[in-house]
Amino acid sequence: MSEIAIQAPTKEMTVTDDVMINMIGVHKWYGEFHVLKDINLTVHKGERIVICGPSGSGKSTMIRCINRLEEHQQGQIIVEGTELTGDLKHVEQIRKEVGMVFQHFNLFPHLSILDNLTLAPIWVRKMPKKEAEEVAMNLLERVKIPEQAKKYPGQLSGGQQQRVAIARSLCMNPKVMLFDEPTSALDPEMIKEVLDVMVELAEEGMTMMCVTHEMGFAKTVANRVIFMDEGQIIEENEPNEFFNNPQNDRTKLFLSQILSH
């Protein structure tokens, strides 16, 4: 995979001691198939974590457990002090605070860009429409496409759609953002515009977990890189060590494969 040049962060990004997400001994099965095996991970406020690993290693499944798009069957997941259980109240509470961006954008095609952004603030946060639209316009400004507000998702390029998707999540003012391969459905020239938005978000102190194979992004923005294989966290380290001095053989193999492309 080629590396996309990333604008270097201009601000110091700080990590605090507050625990944002805590996964303790998490297991998950799809039928007989053991996808997640004893996942233990603590994410602090302000951390930018990049998760990589071969296809099918359970990266998506792991981050989707954090807002319960997937249900884990053993262990504990605690987000901002609230534990994810069968209790729908807890689930909805956590989903309000956790934003997610998908590989295929998943914008709502029947709503205009502006309505895509204001839907959740109005119906979940009970924000007045006027105010929600102001917030939305500010965010579209931030992802640099305010002129598209009245269009429909089908009329936008992939890069623009993904930036709208990021803005849509930000409208809920989340405390954590989860990204599941946000750039892998995009052409190279669009990847950069999306990554730039993500870098800015990191600079503003957003806690982020990002499944991506954009190693340039991992090197410049992440404070920790996690390598997963066969449903386990095999290795985690700060990016410099991770890329220059990988410990595990599987990590070495994986890195040699993606860097040689």
């Binding site: 807002n67 798009l69 729908l88 909805e92 989903r95 309000k96 956790v98 934003g99 997610m100 998908f102 295929h104 998943n106 914008l107 709502f108 095609p109 029947h110 839907l119 959740a120 119906w123 979940v124 429909y152 998702p153 089908g154 009329q155 998707a165 849509r168 999540s169 809920m172």
Partner: protein, 369 residues
């Protein structure tokens, strides 16, 4: 071509009109009717068939037809006698509804039209409230108007209802009720809860598995057997409930088809934003799914509208039933054809309007994806 000198500089080619042979009426005829030998043959064949069939129909229905008169002696019998329809018009429209009370039906029609017009005005701002009125307020008003017995209006029993009026009552109620019930059934059938799912599947498969005629017979013959002695339950209401549940089962499967076509990512994105199940369905999934299946929904509506003619077999006289009834009048024997043609015409007008409206709706809701 090569001897034609370029009249423009390189890179500044002006816009030319397309060759006349590919556009306009000529282009259309060439492309659609004369594009191949087979096509030419079919065009000629169709032309011949039209020549054979259309002129006699026009002759019968318009040129030789009798339009003015008051009784059957005014009919020349050379073509259609539309005097027959005019003579029985009141019965065909309202059944045996009392003459002096027919204004109540007309008033309800007028109210419906007046109330519905603003829905088609794009700048009208209270569409939501108006829809609520049309769905809840209007039926209540219409009920009191039709049934009477209060506000100084004479009570009109449902056996007196008939004609187009009865057709509209049954089909509009069936249509309006079947969509929401169908939506709930479709959602239930896709539910994760096994009991809800089983109930919905059972319901849908039961009603889809039996013919509407059977449903109507059961509602009029069998159902009263299960009622306690002396309890009376209006025949029309029983038929209405039967028609509603029957068409709701069909509607459920149409809606489910639409739900199936919406990618899972839509639900996930909505849920990730914190929307509850019902909000996700109402705001994100249903608007998309229903838009996709507008043709199927309207198809079911049209089917239901025409199926209402079956109520004849349980002794309710809808438009078609009324036409058949007046056709047996000894003074007016021999005008069946006019009656059926008129019935077909009325049904066609309603069904075609529904079809056109659905096409309009599809265009309007298209957002380019």
């Amino acid at each position: 071509m090569s001897d034609q000198k370029p009249t423009h500089k390189l890179g500044e080619h002006p816009d030319w009109a397309p060759p006349s042979i590919t556009i306009g009426a000529v282009g259309w005829v060439r492309a659609n009717m004369l594009s191949s030998p087979l096509n030419i043959f079919l065009t000629l064949l169709c032309g011949y068939l039209i020549y054979l069939s259309v002129p006699p129909v026009v002759q019968w229905a318009f040129l030789d037809a009798d339009w003015f008169g008051t009784n059957r002696d005014d009919c020349s019998r050379e073509g259609a006698c539309w005097i027959y329809i005019g003579f029985w018009f009141k019965q065909i429209m309202y059944g045996r509804y009392p003459d002096t009370e027919v204004w109540r039906i007309n008033f309800a029609y007028a109210l419906l039209v007046v109330a519905a017009i603003p829905l088609f005005v794009p700048s009208f701002r209270w569409k939501g409230w108006l829809s609520v009125f049309l769905l809840i307020g209007y039926p209540i008003i219409a009920f009191y108007l039709f049934v009477g017995g209060s506000f100084g209006m004479e009570h009109v029993e449902t056996p007196l209802w008939g004609g187009l009026f009865l057709t509209l009552v049954i089909s509009v109620l069936g249509i309006v009720a079947s969509l929401p019930i169908g939506i709930v059934l479709a959602l239930g059938r896709r539910s994760d809860m096994p009991v809800v799912k089983a109930i919905c599947i059972g319901f849908i498969e039961f009603w889809r598995g039996i013919p509407l005629i059977t449903v109507l017979f059961m509602s009029s013959v069998m159902f009263p057997l299960f009622l306690p002695e002396g309890m009376h339950f209006d025949k029309l209401i029983r038929a209405l409930i039967g028609v509603m549940l029957f068409s709701a089962a069909y509607m459920a499967e149409v809606v489910r088809g639409g739900l199936q076509a919406i990618p899972k990512g839509q639900t996930e994105a909505a849920e990730a934003l914190g929307l509850s199940y019902w909000k996700t369905m109402n705001l994100v999934i249903m608007p998309q799914a229903l838009k996709l299946v507008i043709p199927g929904i309207v198809n079911t509506f049209i089917g239901l509208f025409k199926d209402t003619t079956l109520v004849l077999i349980i002794g309710l006289f809808d438009l078609l039933g009324m036409i058949q009834l007046v056709g047996t009048n000894p003074d007016w024997l021999g005008f069946h054809i006019e009656g059926y043609v008129f019935a077909a015409f009325v049904f066609w007008c309603f069904c075609f309007s529904m079809s056109r409206y659905s096409q309009h709706l599809e265009k309007k809701l298209h957002t380019g994806h």
